[in-house]
Amino acid sequence: MAEIVSLAEGVRRLVHDGDTVALEGFTHLIPHAAGQEIIRQRRRELTLVRMTPDIVYDQLIGAGCARKLVFSWGGNPGVGSLHRFRDAVQHGWPAPLEIEEHSHAGMANRYVAGASGLPFAVLRGYSGTDLPEHTATIKQITCPFTGERLAAVPALNPDVGIIHAQRADRAGNVQIWGLVGVQKEAVLAARRSLVTVEEVVDELEPVPGGVVLPSWAVTCVAEVPGGAHPSYAQGYYDRDNDYYEYWDSIGRNRDSFEAWLREKVFGVEEVAT
C-alpha cells in the first residue's frame, strides 16, 4: 500500500544516484516540484526518461543531475527551445548528455510494454526515418502470421516513476483526470513510484474522465499543492504561460540559470520530513 510521505522524504527514499527516473506528464500535471526536489537533493548520474522533456528536465539537465536522456520531443512547448538541453547536447555543459531518441508512438508503446510485463512492443513506426540508424533500441520484427515487417521497441521499466495527480485518499489511492497522458503506464512500468498530489482527501469522489491508481500499485504519495506549476492541474489551477516565456530568458544563459538555481531551488527550505 502506498505510504503518505513528505516530498523530501519520498525523493530521498525512492530516487538514488544512477537510477533511471521517469517524471511523466504530457503538458498537464507535470511533476515540477518533484523534479526540483531531486535537484535540491543533488542526485547524480540519472538516466532521465520522458516523452516530452520540457522545463523541469531542462532544469535537471542544467543542474547536472542527468547522465542520459531517453525521450521523443524536447522543447519549451509554445515557446521554443530548451537552452540547457541544447547546451548539454551541443557543448557538453555542465556534463555530456547521452541521448536515446524515439518517436512519441515508440515511447508510448515502450511504457505500455513496461506496464504490461512484456519485454517489447510492436508498432508501425520509424519507417524511412533516420532514427533507427542512431537509436539501438529500434529493431524490426516479422509478423508470424502475415510476414509483415514492423518496428519493435524494448519495454521501459524505470527504477522510479514520478507523476503529479489531482488527489489521493488517505489510503493512498490516486485519482487523475483531464489529459492523463502516459502517467498510469509510467507508474505501472516503474519498479517504484512517487505520486505528488494537489491534496489528500477523505474520499475520492468519482469524476468524469477520472482514472484511479489503486494504493497497492503506488509506492509513495506526497501532498504538494501547486506541485505541477508552471504546468496546470485541471480543476485546481491554469497553466502559467508567462512562466514558460520567463523560463526562456532564464535558461538561455548559464549565469542566469545558475543564479536561478541558487535562489529558487537551493535557496528554498527543504520541505519538512
Binding site: 503538458t27 541544447r86 512519441h104 511504457y111 508498432l123 503506464e185 474522465g209 491554469d238 497553466r239
Partner: protein, 260 residues
Amino acid sequence: MSAVHAGTEAERAYTSDEMMSIAAARALRDDQRCFVGIGLPSTAANLARRSHAPNLVLIYESGTLGSKPGRLPASIGDGILAETADAVISVPEVFNYWLQPGRIDVGFLGAAQLDRFGNINTTVIGDYAQPKVRLPGAGGAPEIAASCREVFVVVRQSRRSFVDRVDFVTSFGHGRGRGDRERLGLRGAGPTLVITDLGVFRPDPETAELVLTRLHPGVEVEQVREATGWELVTSPDLSRTAEPTPEELAALRALKAASE
C-alpha cells in the same frame, strides 16, 4: 524570414503569415479528421473549423478527439483541448487506436527543414552526433506522416528551411522520389500539400518532387526561387492564391486575440 517580400506586405492589409495560415486553413475540408501539430498547423486547423469547416474533427496527440477550442491552444496539452473534446483518451491510445490504423484523414505538420521530396527534419541541423543546432526531435510526427491518409505541411519558407536534402529524416515524406513510400509499406499518401508564406507546393505526380503550384498575392516566382534550396520547378498550371477575405482575416485575428 518574411523579409523577402516585406515591401509588398506594407501595401497589403494582412501579413504573409496571415496569408499562410488562411491558405493552410482553406486546404482542410469539412468533416475531415485532422491530426494537428502545434504552432502553425494548429492555427490553420482551428481557423478552418471556425470558418468554412465547422465539423472538422481536431485530434491532438495529447489525447483529445474532437476538440473545439474557442481560442488557440497555448500548447498541444492546453486544458481547453480536453474540456471541449468529444473524448479524452490516453496518449498510448491516441497513437495505437486512432492514428496507427489509418483513421485520420489529414496530418497537419510543421517543419524546421523540409526537402524537395517533402521529408521533414525536426531533429538536428548538422551532424547527429555533433549537431550545429539541436532541435526538439520527433514527437508524434514520424507516425503522423506515415499513417494519416495525407499530410499537409505548413512552414515559413527560406533557403534555411527549404533544403535540397534534410540533415536528418525525422518524418518520411517521399524519400528520394515516387515509389519510396510504397516500397516501405507506408499506407498513407504522405505530403500532398506544402503551404508556405510565399505559395503552395504539391509533389509532382511522376517524380514526387515538390513543385510550386500557386503563388500568394504579390509574390513573384523569383522570390520563391530565392527562398528555395533546390532548383525550383513551377507547375505549368501555376495559379494565384485568392486574397484573404475580410471574414477569414477577422476569424483569424479573433482566434489569435482570444489567446492573448
